[in-house]
Symmetry: C2
């Protein structure tokens, strides 16, 4: 999967000249970002099944960034890519429903239909709990889309909360001093999230046998993948962290146990910035790197 | 605090007529939303110290919503209100930094300075871990702003992860069957988050003795507030859940122990929709409800 996380400091040189005549720095940055992302999709899209857009990179470009994002989402869809919107949203029910409207089909208002971003899938955050995820799943499902719930992420401090060892308990501890009940079963926080993912995705399995609620699992923690597959047998695993974050694609075999579609490996900087290491024209280097990653991933799935 | 969560289905009648001539339904909805929010700020802003903008409600209005949000943020600031952007963002370091640029001052690009949203504070999600929060804190701090980290939220299923009982452990459990170490200390997940909040806010106390890293604590779980105050003695508590979600303002006294500024009570629907219960003109009803909530809150702090 092609990760699209554009940084105005690191655009491909030809793209930086787009928009030079625009009136504001916001517009110049957004138009150059647009040209960069179009070229990236043209170069590497053919080697990928999906494009993942990091919303933060567009939000920091303001209104012009919002406009460019809409254009790029449409371009990626028309290029035959699945579109994954990586915003890691999460909120209480009424606000989660609003995010669902924004990310997927849109919504009806007294002023007419207001279109959404038409994602094929979106990343979401589980901290709020199940009732914050259900409206997002409903919005995704109504649009034949899906979710990827953060389960165990790829960053250095991911384990600080996600790996905490939990035991069965009747509720909150008092004053932090209560002992856990004797004989209680221990599970990591991320394993509890995995159980929610499996439950939310049940009952909507497509022809492939995969559910519409997937999991984000960092490629930097391959040791967790086998356990994650036990807990979420039908979920697609979205795996960031290859390359710049240190993950190795060769370690991800358990994700592909249900078949090729069981895992989506996402690479952003390692594709977009391949020319910095490999030399040559940025587009050629990006395509070569995307092809290399695809070949390794398919070999794991066979 | 005035919560601004506009729903195109429930705008004040006079506002619904704004933008009637705009070309697209997105623009009509966005302009009507803009008129509604301006009237709400005019009516109730004088009784509040801050305005909290729910990003989901603007994101679902697309590019036109992004434009309207920028105008409203500026209007609220010029009306003398602190501006809190409620987006509950959270991502790995590089993307968290991009959100920080979007939410606070903006950032330098080769195309010139691109302005951010100039929030006084933003809500953020802790699931990623400490290294996902630090770049947001840095962006906030550089702009003399702050963060509110989700600690214990106000929704029905909030406890599903946040109240899980955790014990000290060397890492992830295997196969979910390991027993917790004997004699280990039990704490809820939210208490662990509270400890991170206290640590992140240390070292930057203003003249009031309050830190720049606050906590979101649902007004629906007042039993947690005293324990939260022990764990986060210098944090401002942002408390949603009054009114529509069932929380009672009278139960929130522990939040105000450090003084009036120790707690921010946020009400959205109960102010904007006060006229549905109280009758009368929407603006008058909103102002009366905001005044009523303020009087109760101040009485708790005295």
């Amino acid at each position: 999967m092609l990760g699209i996380d554009p940084d105005p400091q690191a655009l491909w040189p030809a793209a930086s000249r787009a928009g030079a005549r625009a009136a504001s720095s916001q517009q110049r940055a957004a138009l150059a970002t647009r040209a960069h992302c179009l070229a990236l999709i043209d170069a590497a899209g053919c080697c990928c099944v999906a494009a993942k857009f990091q919303l933060a990179c567009f939000e920091r470009l303001g209104v012009a960034g919002a406009q460019v994002l809409i254009e790029l989402l449409r371009y990626a869809t028309e290029a035959g890519l699945l579109v994954i919107i990586d915003g890691k949203r999460g909120d209480i029910d009424i606000s989660a429903a609003a995010y669902g409207q924004a990310l997927f089909a849109g919504f009806q208002t007294p002023f007419g239909w207001v279109d959404g971003m038409h994602a094929d899938a979106a990343t979401v955050n589980p901290y709020i709990g199940r009732d914050g995820l259900v409206p997002l799943r409903e919005a995704a499902r109504a649009a034949s889309g899906g979710l990827f719930v953060l389960v165990r992420t790829s960053n250095r401090d991911a384990g600080q909360l996600q790996d905490l060892c939990t035991v069965e308990s009747s509720g909150t501890t008092r004053a932090g001093l209560a002992a856990p009940p004797a004989g209680s079963r221990a599970r990591a926080v991320w394993e509890r999230v995995a159980e929610i993912v499996a439950e939310l995705g049940a009952g909507c399995l497509g022809g492939s046998g995969l559910s519409d609620v997937g999991a984000v699992l960092g490629a930097t923690v391959p040791a967790h993948l086998r356990r994650a597959r036990e807990l979420m047998p039908a979920s697609i695993f979205l795996m960031p962290g290859i390359g710049a974050q240190g993950g190795r694609i060769e370690d991800l075999a358990p994700a592909f146990e249900p078949g090729r579609a069981g895992g989506l490996i996402t690479a952003s900087r390692s594709i977009a910035e391949a020319h910095r290491h490999a030399g040559g024209e940025p587009g050629d280097a990006a395509r070569s790197e995307a092809e290399r990653l695809r070949t390794i991933a398919w070999s794991l799935a066979d």
